[in-house]
Symmetry: none
Subunit: 364 residues, 2 copies
Amino acid sequence: MTDVATGALSSVLVVGTGLIGTSVALALRAHGVTVYLTDRDPQALRQAVDLGAGDPTAPPGQVDLAVVAIAPSATASVVSGLVAANAAATVIDTCGVKADILRTVRASAGGAAHFVGTHPMAGRERSGPLAARGDLFEGHPWVIVPDGVDPGSLARTEALVALCGGVPVHLGAAEHDVAVALVSHVPQVAASLVAARLADGEDETLALTGQGLRDTTRVAASDPDLWVEVLAANAEPVARILDALRQDVDHVISALHEVGVDPEWGRTALREALVRGNAGRARLPGKHGGRQTPYVLVPVVLPDRPGELARLFATAGEAGVNIEDVAIEHSPGQPVGLVELSVAPGAEQRLADALTARGWQVHA
Amino acid sequence: MTDVATGALSSVLVVGTGLIGTSVALALRAHGVTVYLTDRDPQALRQAVDLGAGDPTAPPGQVDLAVVAIAPSATASVVSGLVAANAAATVIDTCGVKADILRTVRASAGGAAHFVGTHPMAGRERSGPLAARGDLFEGHPWVIVPDGVDPGSLARTEALVALCGGVPVHLGAAEHDVAVALVSHVPQVAASLVAARLADGEDETLALTGQGLRDTTRVAASDPDLWVEVLAANAEPVARILDALRQDVDHVISALHEVGVDPEWGRTALREALVRGNAGRARLPGKHGGRQTPYVLVPVVLPDRPGELARLFATAGEAGVNIEDVAIEHSPGQPVGLVELSVAPGAEQRLADALTARGWQVHA
């Protein structure tokens, strides 16, 4: 994490200790900001507190900034409540659709120039405080809707984004909603529908699944209740893009039918669709995600019996090497698996030597 | 790699030293099988030879088995040539679509009961001999189409799959083609079309791309020429599933339009589509083919310093619990991380108790 001054922020209230709220809290705590936490679910609150995300008591007075990170449908009313109670100098929300909430809050709270709509473009398919990470936002875009916001609140919001390592992007609410329809909401619908086609597949068929399908449908595991809210709040932009997508599907179906009739035309049409897919894919920006620490992988063959991992990590510990990440590959019924240890660059040789000396099979 | 007898195979000819052919050759060499290699590209051939995949000279006589691992469009004629020349006791191919090739070969080579259509369900994003790995097929399904095959050829094919560590799956050609349309070809088309929608997006919009879109469209970067061949060879099954997918897209578009008119109906329809996506996604087998083993997660808070993991695993080992998988979440600069230990159902309480007794913070 880069060293950022806390700016105007010394105290922050996080409302909602789910993935986003707890991740914000962890990032702020790492910079010494005083963080108060609240959640209507006592277990989620306790988990966030145990992770060191902040203090579950009520703030003694007005905080510098309140972050509302709860379900979209509850956001406008909770924000309006905080605005009415004068609980924070600035209130921000983190919902994935902006026009609806801004319209509601500005209407119900007389302008509310100290409310700022924001959207951190980071997430995981898992939710809840246990999935939270202080570097969740590191290097990711964080949309801020500046319209109708007072300068102090804009500055406090920018300070929060900076403390979280996010990259601030100023966008109008409507522009934001069209953009996320394209890069997030329509891909979610497509992934869900492709996955839905598998629901009635034969076991025999599904056994042929490869990594491509796993990747294509990963987000289909997302929370339906959350996504109903997102899609409903952004219905028109999503429907418009889905309509174009449906026409593209039609075109491919026609091309497939033509392959047996006019192979030249059919193949050319298929190729164009695939080439256009290449072009779209190539436009995606590189991975932003969490400060790409270039860890080095050390693959080690591991006998599949209790105690082996302990022995492996003990050897790593004795060698003074900190294991940054672990991935275990093993097939049920196979006597050995493969463990990939991630270590900081420079430590790999020391680790490999120590492991080899203790009889491990290391693939350098 | 498990110890497998070479069975009926002592000599194998690999035609095509790309990713698949070279990986087969490497697996066979590891078991001491004599492997002859050929490729019309001299550089690919030399690279495979340098990797120790086999011998680039012509076999001195009939080999036990010939593996044809070349482009789909050239496969039927090369197979027919090998059959006509009586070059091998058994000839197999490795193409991703089976009915077309089998029809052509069986028609042109008078039955050719010693030709076996197969499809190893393994691959990488990289191609060519340098991407080859002797363990590429380890634990992956390998489809064998047994119809019209003589018993000796079936046995030799099974022996080859076993030597490569693959899991043999017997399927009819038509069943195979429908299955791969569902789990591979339609997901490819969907990914390409979602990616294609981005081709004209604003830079500002594309800057908001997250990991979900990256995953959903990863396979859209695939080779269009290869995929035109695959889709054209499997046009009818792919078109049929795309047709169903198009209807699902229509239904979601209607639901989105209804959200503003009949919110109850609109939201229910959206939710059903998303829930069905969850159900399909949940049916995907785990990394190695088999059903997802239902491990139980035990999340533990972990101080971020060397030796802590070793201490954690030592405690698990003392409790006699086998750790099946580990995921470590930690953010640079944060004092604690979270480790998720996967254990067999039933072992979680014993592990949690043992860890708690040693002072670990366990979130059950």
